[in-house]
Symmetry: C2
Subunit: 349 residues, 2 copies
């Protein structure tokens, strides 16, 4: 029998909370019958919605939280002034062992700050990273960091590489994931010192990783590697730029099909295929940015998502827990000695 899993949900996070959170949990309940849900938030708002889902209610509990973390609140303010928020209490449930993972569609910066404070990082990890999965011409790839860390030293990038590799292997099921370091050229001398040091370590330090080398921005969607490693600034720029271009293309296509009668008829005939295309690039399917490197499973759903997207974020959390991604990261890091690594890096530059 599958082991029971408990997910703590920030019922107040996201544009359409709490409805979207509860409806999302109801979808996840069918997909993952082994999951129980703890909803944190305003019980007066949660209870009436939860009462409508007869099968979800028996596997759920509601934990009242007086405060909500607003979307535009600075993380530092949230840390000091939202200690009784739904987000904070849900994260704490993972810390105390009352839950196996937390999912929130709320303020990303605040979630990272609370999670770092409450859960701490895994042994051997300097900083947690934000990771997500993207569609590529070949299949899918994992990219990290997506914005949690603006400046990263070379050892931090190497830790990202190892965490991303474990994630790709265990959550995406890639046999021997290849890892690429995002740069602005593929030659060894490209990029700044940090990135060249990180490449030297990944190449020479005998890590249990298939290092492809440097990649460029176009390699992300091309699917050149399974794991894209970058600092949080470039990663966030790549993520958001990709979202913008995808939106632009869908808009272009829409207006193309509005040009004249024949185009409209053509659109009607091709509609099933175009629907399949839309599903293929549906951002909801790729919803659920995980914080990797924390001593606990914490998944961030897009704030603007609906219940289907939120259900997918819940699935990411379930996969992380059932595949034991965190224990495997610890194991992997114990096998390598990153203490030797600065010497390799120094020698390389």
């Amino acid at each position: 029998m599958t082991k029971e899993i408990v997910l703590a949900l920030d019922a107040m996070g996201g544009d359409k909370a709490p409805d979207m959170v509860i409806k999302g949990a109801n979808i996840a309940r069918v997909r993952h019958p082994q999951v129980r849900f703890k909803f944190f938030g305003d019980s007066k708002a949660i209870d009436p919605v939860l009462n409508r889902f007869k099968r979800l209610k028996p596997v759920s509990s509601v934990h009242h939280a007086e405060e909500v973390v607003e979307d535009d609140l600075k993380p530092s303010v949230a840390l000091r002034q939202r200690r009784k928020s739904s987000m904070r209490l849900a994260i704490d449930a993972v810390k105390t062992g009352d839950a196996d993972g937390i999912v929130s569609a709320g303020n990303t910066g605040a979630m990272m700050a609370f999670a770092k404070l409450s859960l701490r990082t895994l042994p051997g990890i300097n900083r947690p990273a934000m990771v997500s999965v993207f569609p590529t011409e070949r299949s899918e790839c994992v990219m990290l960091d997506l914005g949690a860390n603006i400046d990263c030293d070379s050892v931090t990038l190497v830790q990202f590489a190892m965490m991303g590799e474990v994630f790709a292997r265990n959550v995406l099921g890639v046999h021997e994931p290849t890892v690429g370091l995002l740069n602005i050229g593929t030659e060894e001398l490209k990029g700044n010192e940090t990135i060249r040091q990180a490449a030297a370590i990944l190449r020479d330090a005998d890590l249990p990783i298939k290092f492809h080398g440097f990649i460029e921005g176009n390699d992300i969607a091309a699917g050149t590697v399974d794991v894209v490693v970058t600092d949080g600034f470039a990663g966030n720029v790549a993520l958001k730029t990709a979202e913008g271009v995808a939106k632009l293309y869908i808009e272009y296509m829409r207006s193309a099909f509005r040009r004249g009668l024949l185009s409209r008829i053509g659109f009607l005939l091709a509609r099933p295929a175009l629907r399949a295309l839309r599903d293929r690039v549906d951002p909801r399917a790729y919803n659920g940015g995980t914080f990797l490197g924390l001593n606990g499973v914490a998944v961030k759903s897009h704030g603007g998502t609906d219940h289907k997207g939120f259900a997918n974020a819940l699935s990411v959390a379930v996969d992380m827990i059932e595949q034991g991604v965190n224990p495997k990261i610890i194991e992997e890091l114990e096998r390598v000695n990153l203490d030797d690594v600065p010497d390799i890096a120094r020698a390389a530059v």
Copy 2:
């Protein structure tokens, strides 16, 4: 009468050189009858092709160059060992005043190195930037730097903003271009110190610029601003990521239209509209990354482009020259005193 313009062309740069260069010039000749062409490169390769274009030949001259800059040659090696290359000699023609501008589809890094060495930067400019034009949901935007400078201080970013603004106004014809600084969030406290300093200067230094504030990656394609300012690392990542996603979407669309008979018929009916879409996103239309901030017009065409794309790069050079972009940048910079600016920046952080 329009003043005569002389363009120096690196006839050996690009995958399909020299044919593509000469055919491109032949298209540009019709568009811009005021232009004369100087082809630099292996005269034995150039002459037979040029002889086929009866109307191009009388407005062209061939200048033999013994050496070629290979695509994968390091810029530092090119500087030392390709002093007699077609690229170097074409750039020198601008320096000596024998040409008004240079266009090459060759090695980007080598072109930047030669151009910096030979042409030097404009007075008041620390570093040249690479700039290009991108389609957006609203119309078009200018982005810089696209990869010439990995690390940029705040004053350099401010100079990029001013150069980009002059370019948007004079080459794109935007009345009062808005300028945005690429960041990973739009709140004032986001990003690293350099970027926050640059924002403070753009906001407080009374520059002749409409500063929008921080933008994120998705704002590029959304067309939130007319000028996107960023360092060369993030700019190159954004540029290449956008190229990759565009390619992915076109591939998705192709495979959607191959699904079943109805889709194929739908495709045939919608074909004219889809062709219009393709033209709208044709990378050849946006070919021609300009080096801004050099004491001379130097345009870099994509190495993989064809003659139509190369002709567009030639048009960018003609526009830059005829609109007097460089004199206008100098004029703009003379009007402001960037010496005061470090104080504003220091006060802001």
